[in-house]
Amino acid sequence: MTPQHELMECYEKIAPLTGRMLESARAGDWDGLVQLGLQFRSWVERLKGIELAEPLEPLQLVRKHSLLSRILADDAKIRDILTPELAQLSSLLGNMHRQQHLNHAYGQ
């Protein structure tokens, strides 16, 4: 397999991964999202390691553009869901800790 093929293979794998990540995020399946996120990272690491001897074919370039557009769009949407969720989680955890401290102090 040529580096060009390998590169395109990576993008072909990554695009559906980010799509599934978005589905998991929308469904609130956080454990699934975290697992998919690990696969996503390892594919991108692999992508970074590929050296191209020859440039991509024009058709490949068009396909790459299309795949990258989908990937980046999904990435942004996942982020849009995760960021406020994390903020909520953080604030509620903080509340629970405070409440627990109060109960420790006054309850028992």
Binding site: W30, V44, I78, L86, Q108
Partner: protein, 485 residues
């Protein structure tokens, strides 16, 4: 763990709702349990205070339930120079005419004079026997008897001292006598100013006619000549004070006493004679102690009322309860105390019968406290003490407000009483509550741990995505540059 707190706020998300419901459903019961715990502890403390107040009231009631309280008698002598007197509860009420014709006195004997108190006299054994002298005559000048008979007091054994080289002087004999308490005499040396001035004076430690000394000496003639003294025979000592009994009459009846402390000549009374002459002796009921006991009971009862009111109050303005508001145990105790106090006591005795506290001026006020009409109480104590005694006490201990209240209150504070079972119940509830709180607490801890892990995982995911995203964005930008060229 570091929590990210600057990510901005959003709401209405599923995770937020989930966590919210956890906070509400799990922390609220914990807060409620904690409040319940505080309420139980406040109740326990209130029961403890009530228990103390009931014990104090029980002691006050028990005092009133003791018939002896009403038999306290005060003895008063009309002439203080003749006698003083004290009475026990055994004393009856009454007035007595006392006439003291003679005070009891202790016999005193003096030896002939010696020139020196430190020169040796002689050795031997000196034996002393107490007894009484009868018949014969006493020459007041020489202080000696003639033709008299000495009868030893069989209840008092003779006692001896040994005089030898260690103590054979007048001073030595004096010290030997004083050292031996069993002899029953004290010795001193009196200087009469003559050529042979030193005279040893022996005085009986007890007064009375039967405490007359007979002194026998076996040993040197010099010692015998100094000390031997037989009222029925040779008397070497001079009697300076005759042993006498006290002579008196009580309501005309002759009374003789070896001592000036005359016990039971009047039942329950001890008279101390201090001079001759006539005096009255008045024995009156000590109503002051009864009045003080009643007053103490009322004060203690009112303290309990104040406490009860404080512990059962409901603040309508603040809508707050006191620890024992609506408490059935305390209400039941209060009701039974009140019922007991309002139950008439059986009438008895010859005087006007007293069956209710109001008849002696002790009444319940509108606010639940008790008050004393002291004029009415004093009147009842003065004119009908036996009636008041019957109202509070009985020899059987089953009737009288003091006795019945004491029994009732003892039951309340007993180890199987209502307060004990109420506090046992509370302690058991507190134990259960503590167990529940511990398990709820651990449930919350588990939940927090679970969501903390989730947060950390998502946080790590975001950090990773930041890296991948920046790389992919570069690739995308490069692609656009290429295609635009």
């Amino acid at each position: 763990m570091t929590l990210v707190t600057n990510l901005g706020a959003a709401s209405g998300l599923p995770l937020a709702t989930l966590l919210s419901s956890i906070t509400v459903s799990e922390n609220q019961p914990l807060t409620a349990m904690s409040n319940q715990q505080s309420a139980y502890n406040a109740k326990l403390s209130a029961y403890g205070t009530i228990q103390n107040a009931l014990s104090t009231l029980q002691a006050a009631a028990a005092q009133l339930g003791n018939p002896a309280l009403f038999q306290n008698v005060t003895a008063t002598a009309g002439t203080a120079s003749v006698l003083s007197a004290t009475a026990t509860t055994a004393a009856g009420i009454g007035n007595y005419a006392i006439n003291v014709s003679q005070l009891a006195q202790a016999q005193s004997l003096a030896t002939a004079g010696l020139a020196s108190t430190t020169a040796a006299v002689g050795s031997g054994t000196v034996t002393l026997q107490f007894g009484s002298i009868s018949g014969g005559t006493l020459d007041p000048a020489s202080g000696k008897y003639s033709g008299a008979t000495f009868t030893a007091d069989s209840t008092r054994a003779a006692a001896s001292i040994t005089i030898d080289s260690s103590n054979n002087t007048m001073a030595g004999i004096r010290d030997a006598i004083n050292k031996n308490k069993a002899l029953g005499v004290t010795a001193s040396i009196v200087n009469d100013g003559s050529n042979t001035p030193n005279r040893l004076v022996l005085t009986s430690t007890q007064t009375g006619a039967t405490s007359t000394m007979k002194i026998s000496v076996s040993g040197d003639a010099a010692l015998s000549n100094l000390l031997s003294n037989d009222p029925a025979g040779t008397q070497n000592l001079q009697q300076t004070v005759e042993g006498k009994n006290a002579q008196m009459t009580v309501n005309g009846i002759a009374v003789t006493s070896a001592s000036n402390t005359v016990k039971e000549a009047v039942q329950g009374v001890t008279m101390t004679l201090t001079g001759t002459g006539a005096s009255s002796l008045s024995l009156q009921s000590n109503t002051a102690t009864v009045q003080a006991a009643i007053s103490n009971f009322v004060t203690t009862y009112n303290s309990l009322q104040t406490l009860t009111k404080q512990y059962t109050a409901f603040n309508t303005a603040a809508q707050t309860q006191a620890p024992l508001t609506g408490d059935a145990t305390l209400r039941n105790i209060q009701t039974r105390i009140r019922d007991t106090m309002n139950t008439p006591q059986p009438a008895s005795g010859s005087g006007a019968s007293l069956t209710m506290l109001a008849q002696i001026g002790v009444t319940f006020q509108a606010d639940g406290t008790m008050a004393i009409d002291s004029t009415k109480l004093t009147g009842a104590l003065t004119t009908n003490l036996s009636g008041v005694q019957n109202l509070f006490s009985s020899t059987s201990g089953t009737t009288g407000f003091g006795s019945t209240m004491s029994t009732l209150l003892t039951g309340f504070t007993a180890s199987n009483g209502p307060l004990k079972s109420a506090t046992d119940g509370l302690n058991s509830s507190l134990k259960t509550l503590a167990t529940q709180m511990t398990s709820t607490q651990s449930l919350i801890s588990t939940t927090i741990a679970r969501y903390t892990k989730q947060f950390t995982d998502l946080d790590t995911l975001i950090a990773g995505m930041n890296q991948t995203s920046s790389y992919l964005t570069q690739q995308f930008a490069a692609l656009n540059d290429t295609s635009s060229k």
